[in-house]
């Protein structure tokens, strides 16, 4: 439509969420590509549009995560991915914070260069099976023992979809610790504005020249719009029909999957 054409005028870059847009995680192979997504990424790269992957994935180091996606058939490189752990490490160093980590075992190597003795903050990520009562309690005790508790959360997502169903995301556990200690976490990752801004800076594109494509109405779509970007919601991954009637967030468009999103965008650009 004419409407769409106008929306897309001046678009120079796309920011893609990964989990639920490129693939559904879980299972023996570590996940399943969403039909059409492998080709869609190739088409974006061939189109000359700039491309950035922006994920709240914190179950693995960036290296391992990208390796998995390459194995699934995606054309993706480590330096194309913006992920929360790297951003968190920068903050820790800047503020002389020594974290107690409540993260997935596979993410721990990202913090190799960080002093963790005598912790004065807690960093929480999507720890999955590490979210045991005992581990949550340890993090709680570190926080409650601090004069000014600092909780840094790698994302604030509510849930995501794996091949065997929906799973609680880090946001639920962030809220657990927030409530227990009567504090507010500092969120690194989507939907934090600074996180989108660093993704945009890394690809050298202004917010109004970029479109975010994600399956999370609040963290992908809402977060990107707050930052001045356009945002499309895909009907894959954690998408549920009620997301299209979300009381606070309205996407700039709703598409069946990444393949459709890319077709629509490229068609309009080539007009």
């Amino acid at each position: 439509t004419a409407d769409r054409g106008q929306q897309l005028a001046g678009i120079q870059g796309l920011v893609l969420d990964i989990s639920g847009v490129l693939y559904d995680s879980g299972g023996e192979a570590g996940g399943l590509p969403i039909p059409g997504s492998i080709d869609a990424v190739k088409k974006i790269k061939a189109s000359g549009l700039r491309l950035r992957f922006c994920t709240n994935e914190t179950q693995a180091t960036r290296d391992k995560f990208v390796e998995k996606l390459q194995r699934l058939g995606f054309d993706i490189a480590v330096n194309e991915v913006t992920a929360p752990a790297t951003a968190a490490c920068r903050i820790l160093k800047e503020r002389n914070l020594r974290p107690h980590l409540l993260v997935h075992d596979d993410l721990v190597p990202e913090f190799d260069q960080i002093d963790k003795a005598n912790p004065n903050c807690v960093v929480i990520g999507d720890a999955a099976d590490n979210f045991s009562y005992q581990n949550l309690n340890e993090a709680f005790r570190v926080l409650i023992g601090l004069e000014k508790p600092i909780l840094i959360s790698l994302g604030s997502g509510r849930y995501y979809k794996e091949t065997d169903g929906l799973k609680l995301d880090v946001g639920a556990y962030m809220k657990t610790l927030e409530y227990a200690c009567d504090i507010q976490a500092e969120v690194v990752g989507k939907p934090a504005k600074t996180f989108f801004q660093s993704a945009l800076a890394e690809m050298g594109v202004e917010p109004q020249q970029a479109i975010m494509i994600g399956d999370d109405i609040v963290n992908d779509v809402g977060g990107a719009q707050q930052c001045g970007m356009k945002a499309l919601l895909v009907r894959t991954g954690k998408y549920r029909p009620c997301d299209e009637q979300h009381p606070q967030v309205k996407a700039d468009g709703y598409v069946d999957n990444l393949a459709e999103a890319v077709d629509v965008i490229l068609k309009q650009l080539h007009k």
């Binding site: 979210f131 009562y133 509510r158 849930y159 169903g165 929906l166 946001g171």
Partner: protein, 259 residues
């Protein structure tokens, strides 16, 4: 606040107020005897969800407290009442001991979630299961929402943080049946024939014991034992009616000033 009337009922918290795990608060048994000599009804009200009434009573007897089973009102009783009223089949995230108080409740193919203090169940797979049920529309019933409690080895997470996490993930709101809910305090008074303006609550949790009771129209006395931490009394407004060292001091105040 409604006009105060002569005191006729005293509600007493158990864990942290009369005892800490298996030790009585010094002087608490004697103080309870002194209180019994006054013309007041006494109820023991607790959010201790790990244990059924029978366990609570056994422990209190072992610590030589003079308490009868029908004087105890727990959040488990309140939860069971609500399940029966709603006619739902719960996934029970409560400790095994607490299951006694749910005997006879149908738990097949659950369509409701009940959360108590259940460290053994507060783990990733079980919370995912509860999460999916709630997302499909199952009501979330919280036995209480305490932030943390005191164990011998230090402070430990209560059910409140987990309930809050599930609420956030699902956009649902839990129905809380324990302290500090107003209905809990009113239910506890039922059978004493007293109104809230004739009652006082003694406890170590500023928000859940004292704040809750005061919101229901009672007086609240905060004791500095159990989970109490310095400056807790500043956490609620209006402030506690009284903050004192421990249960015996609270009893002395009642005997000297409130009768």
């Amino acid at each position: 606040m409604a006009a105060r009337r002569a005191l006729k009922a005293v509600l007493v918290d158990l864990s942290g107020t009369l005892h800490i795990e298996d030790s009585a608060v010094p002087g608490a048994q004697e103080a309870l005897k002194r209180l019994r000599s006054a013309p007041v009804a006494i109820r023991f009200v607790t959010n201790t969800t790990k244990e059924c009434k029978k366990d609570l009573l056994e422990r209190l007897k072992k610590l030589e407290f003079d308490i009868a089973e029908d004087e105890i009102f727990t959040s488990l009783t309140a939860a069971r009442n609500l399940l029966e009223q709603k006619q739902v089949r719960p996934l029970l995230l409560v400790e095994d001991n607490a299951l006694h108080d749910f005997k006879g409740v149908d738990t097949n193919d659950p369509n409701a979630v009940v959360i108590g203090l259940a460290p053994d169940h507060f783990n990733y797979p079980m919370l995912n299961k509860a999460f999916r049920l709630i997302l499909d529309g199952a009501p979330l019933i919280a036995i209480h929402k305490a932030r943390y409690y005191k164990r011998k080895d230090g402070l430990a997470l209560g059910p409140g943080p987990f309930v809050t996490g599930l609420e956030y993930a699902t956009d649902a709101k839990a129905t809380v049946v324990g302290k500090p809910e107003r209905t809990f305090f009113l239910e506890a008074l039922r059978g004493t024939g007293c109104v809230p303006e004739e009652a006082v609550m003694i406890g170590d949790d500023c928000r859940d014991d004292v704040g809750g009771a005061q919101s229901a129209g009672m007086l609240g006395i905060l004791v500095k034992t159990g989970k109490y931490r310095a400056a807790d009394e500043g956490k609620i407004s209006p402030a506690p009616y009284l903050t004192c060292e421990s249960f015996p001091h609270a009893v002395d105040h009642i005997l000297q000033h409130l009768l």
